[in-house]
């Protein structure tokens, strides 16, 4: 019987180790504490001296062909496409213009503060794809997520510095309104019901950002004179940045080029 009691103890100990030991491996990433108090008044920009930075983003090399998405798991999604939908990770236009690139002022704005826009930024779910794929908004600005599909979706941003949430949105349900408190480039968004659905939300303190279309062009206007680090972010190709100095009423042009990945 002693052996059997030992077995009993070993199994109980293994159970305890599993729960306690596994739990100690790593703590989940927690968001930093939110800023408290009322937001300071926006720093005024003098329109008489404001300049701009504009340019384009291109892909150097052949654009990868979008992989076909298998929507058989959700017939209403498949029915929404006349031809099979393809992955929109790399969107390239004529002349190699790269779309869905976030171009923004990363450094150089100092302690300036900016007003939070009152208008909401909209993200749709159409044909079981997020549209647009990349969304930019300011911290505190409302993000409105709509479901134009006949399918149930769940919208699940996975941020590092903001609060994570996961909300279901059946067909015909009202839009979901959410906001993000902290700057973060960029928050991946999933739909766990439809694993091919991917999107990115970029959150900024300032209004100096733009998401490129397939033409690849961007324009950051109304910038006060100064020296800035401008960064371009793409979900597949990563980031690249340049420093630019603009004087009063000056407009500078900079271009970004991402190298197509080998094997694409």
């Amino acid at each position: 019987m002693r052996v059997q009691y030992s077995l009993f103890v070993v199994l109980a100990a293994a159970l305890a180790i599993s729960v306690a030991g596994c739990g100690k491996k790593e703590s989940s990433e927690s968001a930093p504490p939110a800023a408290t108090g009322t937001a300071p008044a926006a720093t005024p920009i003098d329109p008489a001296t404001a300049g701009s930075v504009e340019g384009s983003v291109k892909l150097d090399g052949p654009a990868p062909k979008g992989k076909k998405i298998n929507m058989a798991a959700e017939p209403s999604c498949a029915a929404a496409h006349a031809t099979p939908a393809t992955d929109e990770e790399v969107a390239v236009g004529e002349g190699g213009g790269l779309g869905n690139v976030i171009v923004y002022v990363k450094e150089g704005l100092g302690n300036r503060t900016f007003e939070t826009p009152k208008t909401a930024v909209t993200m749709d779910q159409k044909g079981c794809m997020y549209s647009p794929r990349v969304v930019g908004l300011q911290a505190g600005q409302t993000l409105e997520v709509r479901n134009d599909d006949k399918a149930t979706h769940n919208i699940h941003p996975v941020p590092k510095f903001n609060r994570e949430w996961n909300k279901s949105q059946p067909a015909g349900a009202p839009a979901i309104a959410e906001s993000f408190a902290r700057e973060e480039v960029a928050i991946p968004v999933k739909c766990n019901v439809h694993p091919w659905m991917k999107s990115y939300i970029a959150v900024f303190k300032s209004p100096y950002f733009q998401i490129t279309g397939t033409g690849g062009s961007f324009s950051l206007k109304n910038l006060p004179p100064g020296t800035y680090t401008i960064e371009a972010w793409h979900e597949k190709y990563g980031t690249t940045s340049q420093t630019v100095t603009i004087g009063a009423k000056e407009s500078k042009t900079i271009n970004f080029v991402f190298k197509a990945a080998a094997g694409d």
Binding site: M1, V3, Q4, Y5, L7, F8, V10, L11, A12, A14, L15, S18, V19, G21, C22, G23, K24, K25, E26, S27, S28, K67, I69, N70, A73, E74, P75, D87, E89, A151, T152, N154, H156, V158, E164, N166, K167, S168, P170, K190, N192, V193, H194, P195, W196, K198
Partner: protein, 298 residues
């Protein structure tokens, strides 16, 4: 014997539950249902996309929970061995804790420690139910000749170390799947487990070549570790290949699920081997003591 058959049925259902759980993770469907305990406020949500995997897992978990309650009550009412009755209660506690961990993964958006704990406790629960199936068998309760556990290290020790190594390896695998660790610790664990399985099975073959139960155990261990190594390599290859696709591809899903559940079977096989060793082997000193009166007899 009805109780034994019921325990075996519960173990088989638990295995299917592990398959369902592995399908959830491999299809990245862990949060396809954002609410708990209901699914989209219902017990019968639309079974499409990731909801199919997540809700099926919940339904099967509920079924296994009910089976475990019945098993624990049955043992409590009819089992004369107190330690077996208590093990039934431990299994019940484990399945309840497993349900709570499953709920926490949903509420807290799959935090790595809780997800890994959920995976590990599932393996422990499976091993416990397999143990109960063995303890309630006629073989375990029959009068079996005890054999001296000769040789160094003792076979029972080797078997226990093998169980421990496989369990740690399953933890590392779960941590890899849930993106807590890279692949390297899991590969190192595979080497240790392979070594220990071959050592244990080899010792069983050399020392107890004619023992039927131990022979079946070592053949089972050899088959499982070989299959598991092949599946591990294939699952890793499929995972690399799947990176280029916008969604989990079937070959990756099924190879990963197979690797996960054969890992569970390997643990169960090692647990069975250990329990068989405990049942039929005894330390050399005890065997000598047991043999002494016979030697003294005229």
């Amino acid at each position: 014997m009805a109780l034994h058959r019921f325990a075996v049925f519960t173990a088989a259902c638990t295995f299917l539950l592990l398959v369902a759980g592995a399908l959830v993770t491999s299809n990245d469907a862990g949060l396809a249902v954002p609410d708990w305990p209901l699914s989209y406020g219902s017990v019968a949500p639309p079974m499409v996309g990731g909801i199919l995997y997540e809700h099926s897992h919940r339904v099967m978990a509920t079924f296994v929970g009910i089976l475990t309650i019945i098993l624990a009550v049955w043992l409590w009412r009819s089992e004369p061995r107190r330690w077996v009755r208590r093990l039934g209660l431990i299994a019940l506690g484990a399945v309840i804790a497993q349900g709570v961990l499953g709920a926490l993964t949903v509420v807290f958006f799959l935090p790595v420690p809780i997800s890994v704990a959920h995976a590990c406790l599932g393996q422990i629960f499976f091993g416990t139910i397999v143990g109960l199936a063995l303890f309630t068998s006629q073989w375990w309760q029959s009068a079996l000749p005890r054999v001296a556990d000769a040789g160094s290290p003792r076979l029972r020790s080797l078997a226990v170390w093998t169980v421990a190594a496989i369990f740690v390896q399953l933890m590392l695998g779960a941590a890899f799947r849930h993106k807590g660790f890279g692949i390297v610790p899991h590969l190192a664990g595979a080497a240790v487990v392979t070594l220990l399985v071959f050592w244990t099975a080899g010792a069983a073959r050399r020392r107890y070549r004619n023992d039927g139960a131990l022979g079946r155990c070592r053949r089972l261990l050899h088959a499982l570790i070989g299959l598991q190594l092949l599946l591990g390599g294939a699952a890793w290859w499929s995972r690399l290949a799947a990176g280029a696709f916008p969604q989990p591809i079937p070959v990756m899903v099924w190879l990963t699920v197979a690797h996960t559940v054969v890992g569970a079977l390997t643990l169960a096989g090692a647990v069975l081997t250990t329990l068989v060793c405990v049942r039929i082997l005894q330390p050399v000193e005890q065997a000598a003591l047991a043999a002494r009166p016979e030697q003294a007899a005229p």
